[in-house]
């Protein structure tokens, strides 16, 4: 690791000021990607501004029609939240299977979304549920937020403050993990929303990061059952291929995981 200057931000405004004043600053929101990258000397920020001690960024609250989760809330807190478990059991289950206990007690939802790893779990839930990402300056609907692998609509220095999820009638996440990293090789979040619509979002498998599968959504809107997905093909041309699995395998896994997520919705 290269030398860096650590800052513990006291407020979002304080963090923004420190970031603006740094030569090449980076926000630390849990560090589960940033710190390993720094340790491998693949990143060398001059300053690291820690967001995880800002009270305004923490906590989970029930809002009128859903749940608001502070950006610096850890995966373990989301997984253990009674509010999340009641309103969005699929989201709680997703958070409970990210990484391992160490990761879940350090990693945060805001950090995961800002990084937008194509194999991260949270993006699928955010996109499937149609969550809204709150930043220091504005609100971004999920559709506008994700912009391909490791790319988001966030401006330089823009800080995520919270994610607001609408409640769903049913929600579930099914993940097939990469045997080595345990990141998703195919993670499918299925949400049945209050208006009767169904949304299906896929992480880990696509070449451009998280995506919705409209064919599955339409089929499930007509018949919310795993069998409804029989014969719905996922285009292997748009899937990732690497030493862990071919594009065909990932395309196949997407359908298998989608069926399991539907079945888990009960």
């Amino acid at each position: 690791m290269y030398e860096t200057t650590y800052h513990r931000a006291e407020s979002v405004a304080d963090a923004a000021t420190r970031l603006a004043g740094a030569e090449d600053g980076k926000l630390l929101a849990g560090g589960q990607t940033l710190l390993p990258t720094m340790k491998q000397r693949l990143a060398a920020p001059s300053d690291v501004i820690d967001l995880t001690h800002i009270a305004d960024l923490k906590g989970i609250a029930e809002t009128g029609g859903g749940v608001r989760i502070g950006a610096a809330t850890t995966h373990a807190e989301v997984a253990g939240s009674e509010i999340v478990k009641r309103l969005l059991p699929g989201l709680a289950a997703l958070a409970g299977h990210i990484g391992d206990p160490h990761v879940r007690h350090r990693g945060t939802i805001g950090g995961s979304l800002a990084n937008n790893d194509p194999a991260a779990d949270y993006p699928s839930a955010v996109l499937a549920l149609g969550a809204v990402i709150h930043t220091y300056t504005r609100q971004l609907p999920a559709e506008e937020f994700f912009a391909g692998m490791f790319e988001t609509a966030l401006d330089e220095g823009e800080i995520i403050t919270a994610v607001e999820f609408p409640a769903a009638t049913a929600s579930a996440y099914a993940k097939y993990p990469n045997p080595a990293s345990r990141y998703a090789m195919a993670g499918v979040f299925v949400a049945r929303l209050g208006d009767g619509g169904v949304r299906v979002a896929v992480t880990g498998a696509g070449q451009d990061g998280v995506f919705r599968h409209e064919g599955m959504e339409q089929a499930l809107a007509g018949n919310f059952a795993a069998e409804a997905l029989d014969g719905i093909a996922v285009d292997a041309d748009e899937m990732l291929s690497d030493i862990h699995g071919s594009a065909e395998y990932r395309a196949h896994l997407v359908t298998v995981m989608a069926k399991r997520a539907v079945a888990a919705c009960g």
Binding site: M1, Y2, E3, Q40, R41, Y176, P179, A180, S181, I243, H244, G245, S246, Y249, H252, L253, V256
Partner: protein, 789 residues
């Protein structure tokens, strides 16, 4: 012989674990010497390239930098090339073709991660920064990573010494009689078999701390070694570092080796050289990336195997052709692994009248390959047991009964490939495993699994391996550069406490417990009065170290011989002190007694008398200390049966090992708990090879699985709760009847797993690792093939 509650056979908890589990272990990287500097290596990013220039001027000017040293200076100082210590001759009689391997390469780099220079600086971070500032220009050359590709005409050539990248073309067995067996065979089973490449991944990465004392012209090296004396010998005799009496090598606590810490590597040598060059103690500790790129890898074979059967399904011949990938350079024992440690076990547990094997060893632009847990025997076992299972399926015989029909049953049994099996009962372990798994109930379990949509399969592996590689004269005649005996010294202190100095080295095996149990058993003294000393060339006179599951069968046999001498002298002294005949003295429960009387003397009083020397028998020297060297008469032959049951999810290809039974014959067992731990670890490594682990290179020679994000080590949820049992035939070749247990699990388990998966999916076309993607693909191909018929 006496015995105690802490003696042979007792489940004593490991004495060394207190320091390990409380973080009080002392590993090489924990050592500090005043004024210590740190080394960082400049490494090649290319698999094959000419080094066209190296500019260290910027690095030398950086803060804290003491030196940047290159190949030119290494060669000028007369530091020798790294060597391979086992000479193999090709079938035409020519010696193996060894390419030059310099610890720092200044001309042509041949694998990613090869060191071209070293920086010595006052902190690790500054050394790293300066290493990054060394400007090296390369002219990339075409690379070759697969051994079969390396043999093709027109393949990139690695070493001028080895034309066509061929190191040797070796054979064993009788080709004419084997060919004749095939000519008259009723059935022939043919297979192509791949053994995947593995990265050892010891928990503690390699490290070295070298300190040169200019006044004494003496070096001290702390290092992560399984065999510090062998390291000293090689560093002295071949690399011209220092004569042996001017070089002390200490291998303190070592966090796992699995073979990868047997060898002498460039980095440790460079630290020694740099410590003299800079006048500073120099430390280096590998990070995990360096471990992936530079620790010797394991396995990597392509084989063709053919098994000939007569009309009664008895094996009449076995013919094998193997191409072994040795990587970019010949590591210390690399040449012996795919030859004498591999092809000599191709008879398995079976009476096979004719065997012929041909092995070609090949250079490629990959990390050097050498011994890794099992070293040759896993490759042999995988080949034999995959072929046995396949042959049974082809002739329509039950795979257990097909094996049983061909078992060796009379001992000693001379195979056609050098080995002479001394003792065993292969029916006993097969029977025990069949009963434990409830073989008769398998069909019902398979049907029940099918009702849940799962494919259930069962697979066998009746393995045999060879431990305690020996005797020295025999291995010498086969090309080994060293003898493979072991030494021990037993020092009884004046107060009766006992220090045992051993040439074996413990890096996870629990020797501090089991070796003390032997002493406790023998003298009836408490374990707390015994300490085991190992891993320091200044304390232990000489030793060959620990690998090949040799420390019990060879290392403890040397201790037995030394204990014999101590006991004989102590009895003589006790007899003198108690005015009795020597033949009437017994040693029971830590006390010398005169048979038929109530006269007795505690052990410590006899020890004290030996040191006060006030009252000794005529001519007896004072003191109570004896040493011994033990050279075995033969290998030992652990064997057993492993049965694996799997369930496969056809939707994802995911394999779950639902049951695993291991029936092993290790001969005499000192501590069943430690043996079970060894088997658990071995099985888990074997399952890792079968299902998860793969060192994958791209065609340019970049290691794709160079971190834990892509290299899949087995985790707790990948393995079942093993069911272990032992059957015992004692080894006639050593005083305790021990065979060895350290590698059996890794040797025997991969074929059991793959045989179970191929049974479940009904397709034999599957290579290791059987990842979910690979199994799914095999299922899909099997169904396509079925549909086409």
């Amino acid at each position: 012989m006496t015995s105690s509650a802490e003696g042979i056979g007792a489940r004593v908890t490991r004495r060394e674990d207190k320091r390990f589990v409380t973080g009080k272990g002392r590993y090489t990287d924990d050592m500090t010497v005043p004024g210590m500097a740190h080394a960082a290596f400049v490494r090649s990013p290319h698999a094959h390239a000419k080094v066209t220039s190296l500019d260290a001027s910027a690095a030398r000017a950086m803060p804290g930098v003491e030196a940047v040293l290159t190949s030119e200076e290494l060669v000028a100082d007369g530091v020798g090339n790294l060597i391979c210590g086992w000479m193999i001759h090709s079938k035409d009689g020519s010696p193996m073709k060894m390419g030059a391997w310099r610890a720092l390469e200044g001309d042509t780099v041949r694998h990613v991660g090869q060191a071209v220079a070293v920086v010595v600086a006052d902190t690790p971070a500054r050394a790293r920064d300066a290493a990054d500032a060394v400007v090296v220009e390369y002219e990339p050359l075409d690379a070759v990573v697969d051994a079969l590709d390396a043999l093709k005409p027109g393949a990139p050539q690695l070493h001028p010494e080895a034309e066509g990248n061929l190191i040797y073309d070796w054979e064993i067995g009788d080709q004419a009689t084997t060919d004749a067996a095939f000519a008259s065979a009723a059935h022939v089973t043919r297979m192509e078999i791949r053994n995947n490449r593995l990265v050892p991944n010891a928990m503690e990465p390699r490290a070295a701390l070298a300190s040169y004392d200019e006044a004494e012209e003496h070096y001290t090296l702390w290092t992560t070694s399984q065999n510090p004396h062998v390291a000293r010998l090689v560093l002295s005799a071949f690399y011209n570092i220092a004569p042996e009496h001017k070089l002390r090598v200490i291998a303190p606590d070592v966090g796992g080796g699995f073979g990868s810490k047997i060898f002498i590597y460039p980095e440790e040598m460079v630290c020694l050289w740099a410590s003299k060059k800079t006048g500073l103690p120099v430390k280096w500790a590998a990070d995990r990336t360096e471990a992936f790129l530079t620790d010797a890898h394991g396995r990597d074979h392509h084989s063709e195997a053919e098994l000939a059967l007569d009309a009664d399904n008895r094996i009449t011949g076995f013919r094998v052709k193997t191409v072994a990938n040795l990587g970019a350079y010949m590591s210390l024992f690399s040449s012996s692994v795919p030859t004498y440690l591999y092809a000599t076990l191709l008879s398995g547990q079976y009476a096979i009248p004719a065997i012929h094997a041909n092995v070609k060893a090949v250079y490629t632009n990959t990390t050097p390959v050498d011994a890794y847990r099992g070293a040759g025997r896993p490759e042999a076992t995988y080949l034999v047991e995959r072929v046995m299972e396949t042959a049974a399926r082809e002739v329509g015989m039950d795979p257990a009964e097909f094996r049983r029909k061909n078992f060796v049953r009379s001992f000693p049994h001379q195979t056609p490939v050098i080995m002479c099996y001394d003792a065993g009962d292969y029916d006993a372990s097969l029977d025990a495993a069949l009963q434990a798994i409830d073989y008769a109930g398998f069909a019902a379990r398979k049907a029940e699994a099918a009702s849940r949509g799962k494919l259930r399969g069962i697979g066998f592996s009746c393995y045999i391996e060879a431990c305690g590689i020996a005797p020295s004269q025999a291995v010498g005649s086969l090309g080994a550069g060293v003898g493979l005996w072991e030494s021990a010294e037993v020092r009884v202190n004046p107060v009766g406490t006992i220090e045992v100095l051993t040439g074996s080295h413990s890096h996870g095996q629990g020797h501090e417990t089991t070796f003390a149990q032997l002493v406790s058993d023998r003298f009836g003294v408490g374990l707390d009065t015994v300490s085991i000393v190992h891993g320091d060339t200044d304390k232990v006179q000489f030793g060959m170290g620990t690998y090949g599951s040799r420390s019990g069968a060879v290392g403890m046999s040397a201790i037995v011989k030394a204990l014999d001498k101590v006991e004989a002298k102590a009895k003589k002294l006790a007899a003198h002190l108690m005015e009795a005949a020597e033949g009437d003295i017994t040693l029971e429960g830590g006390t010398f007694k005169v048979a038929g009387t109530d006269k007795e003397l505690p052990f410590f009083q006899v020890a004290l008398a030996a040191y006060t020397a006030h009252n000794m028998p005529e001519g007896m020297e004072p003191g109570l200390k004896e040493g011994a060297f033990y050279d075995p008469t033969n290998f030992t032959f652990p064997a057993g049966t492993y049965i694996c049951e799997v369930e496969i999810d056809p939707d994802t290809g995911k394999t779950e090992i639902v049951d695993f039974v291991a029936a092993d014959d290790f001969g005499t067992i000192i501590n069943p708990m430690i043996v079970e731990g060894q088997v658990h670890g071995g099985l888990t490594q074997g399952i890792g090879q079968a299902l998860l682990e793969n060192a994958a290179y791209d065609e340019d020679g970049q290691l794709l699985s160079g971190s834990y994000m892509d290299y899949c080590m087995p985790r707790a949820d990948d393995v079942p709760s093993y069911r272990l049992m032992t059957t015992v035939t004692t080894c006639p070749g050593n005083p305790l009847g021990m065979k060895g247990c350290g590698e059996a699990g890794a040797i025997g388990s991969p074929p059991a797993v793959i045989n179970a998966i191929t049974d479940a999916i009904g397709s034999n076309d599957l290579v290791m690792p059987a990842t979910p993607a690979a199994v799914w693909q095999a299922i899909r191909q099997g169904r396509t093939a079925e549909a086409a018929e």
